[in-house]
């Protein structure tokens, strides 16, 4: 039985209306807080109802029914006459209460909608950014002037690192993929350089290889309309350099 044992007997008495005094007060206080005991009380009342249902006897006289039906006919279900305040005042308060209820309900709905809209906007922004990135990648890959630069090591090793840069001058877009890169010294990173036809090399992104020696640079910030003669890679401090630090470890020209 799911009921607090100390209240068991008092609950039975209470269900029969036989509990009184401080015991009754104490139990009523407990019932306000205890759903389990409230449920048990319902069941005990049901048990008591079984006791009531064992009663039997003559049916009520026929006039009892006609008396009831007469009373019902005289009494509508809604009883505005019992309200002493003028009807318009009562209706006014009722309308105000309804308006407050409606306003609170609408405010809550509005809060929920605002929250939903904010969440959807955030998702949409992320989708747009992701979509824009994909569109830019596709544009560069399919640009008429897109040229690939195969970047080879200056000193050849058994598993030579390699890199491929796809660059579109018109779109100032660059995608660079590398593999078999050598691990870096501490606090160092690779830096990719766009070597223009004229002028100094332009920084084109920092990168570190993963455990398998692979790395990627997608659309680094680049000045617009620069024609590339070659791409080069140097090892630089992690924060990057504005001019390449020799030696150049990899380099490739367009073709």
């Amino acid at each position: 039985m799911n009921v607090h044992e100390q209240y068991g007997e008092d609950l039975a008495l209470y269900a029969l209306g036989a509990l009184e005094g401080s015991d009754r007060d104490s139990l009523e206080k407990h019932l306000e807080e205890c759903a389990s005991c409230r449920r048990e009380l319902e069941q005990l009342r049901g048990d008591a109802a079984l006791l009531a249902l064992t009663t039997s006897g003559p049916r009520p006289r026929a006039r009892a029914k006609s008396r009831l039906m007469d009373a019902i006919a005289k009494e509508p279900r809604v009883q505005p006459a019992k309200v002493r305040a003028p009807l318009l005042v009562v209706l006014g308060w009722l309308a105000a209460a309804v308006m407050i209820l409606v306003a609170v309900t609408l405010w809550r709905q509005n809060e929920r909608l605002n929250s939903t809209v904010a969440s959807l906007s955030e998702t949409l922004e992320k989708e747009k950014a992701s979509s824009e990135q994909a569109r830019r990648v596709a544009e560069i890959l399919h640009a008429p002037d897109a040229a690939s630069y195969v970047i080879m090591p200056v000193s050849v090793k058994s598993m030579p690192p390699s890199g491929k840069a796809i660059y579109s001058r018109e779109r100032s877009g660059l995608i660079f993929v590398a593999s078999n890169l050598s691990p870096l010294p501490a606090n160092k990173a690779y830096e990719l350089w766009l070597v223009p036809m004229q002028g100094a090399p332009i920084p084109a992104g920092m990168f570190k290889p993963d455990a398998r020696g692979s790395a990627m640079v997608v659309n680094p910030p680049l000045p617009s309309g620069v024609e590339a003669k070659a791409f080069a890679i140097t090892i630089e401090p992690e924060k990057g350099s504005t001019t390449p630090t020799l030696p150049i470890v990899m380099m490739g020209t367009g073709g």
């Binding site: 007997e9 008495l13 079984l50 064992t54 039997s56 006289r61």
Partner: protein, 157 residues
């Protein structure tokens, strides 16, 4: 309401008559109970039980209030009654009532008397203890175990 009356008035009247032992007073309670149901049809929560036991409890409470010449002690909307198994149909009700009657018949007289004094005569537990000259704790235990016996009677298949 006429249909409800035809179906349940005998239950209501029997309970009221059992408590009050007076036909006119029982008819007054019958009238009062059905008028309350008419005025406040939402008082009965159909999802929490069925009408016959609920009406029986409401009627008993009103009748005891009349018997003890006191103001109504409970609101009908506050009275939740849960009975298992379902007693919706008259056949189910009849079958289970017979089981309860059998248990009452087998019950020790002091226990049955304690239950009836509390339920049909409206005595408090201390009044019952005083009248029967039994300890208060004994009365409490008798009433609780008595109700449990009634529950077991209808729960048994």
């Amino acid at each position: 309401m006429a249909q409800l009356y035809d179906r349940y008035s005998s239950v209501v009247y029997a309970v009221a008559l059992r408590v009050l032992a007076d036909a006119a007073a029982a008819e007054d309670v019958l009238q009062d109970v059905f008028m309350q149901l008419w005025r406040n049809p939402g008082a009965f929560d159909a999802s929490r039980g069925n009408l016959a036991p609920w009406l029986a409890v409401i009627t008993r409470n009103r009748a005891v209030d009349v018997l003890r010449k006191r103001r109504p002690q409970t609101e009908i909307t506050e009275t939740l009654v849960s009975v298992e198994p379902d007693l919706a149909s008259e056949a189910d009700r009849g079958r289970n009532v017979e089981k309860v009657r059998a248990v009452l018949k087998e019950m020790p007289a002091p226990q049955r008397s304690a239950l009836e004094m509390a339920y049909f005569e409206g005595y408090s537990h201390s009044e019952i203890a005083e009248k029967t000259k039994e300890p208060l704790g004994t009365i409490k235990t008798r009433i609780r175990t008595g109700l449990m016996l009634l529950r077991k009677a209808v729960e048994a298949t």
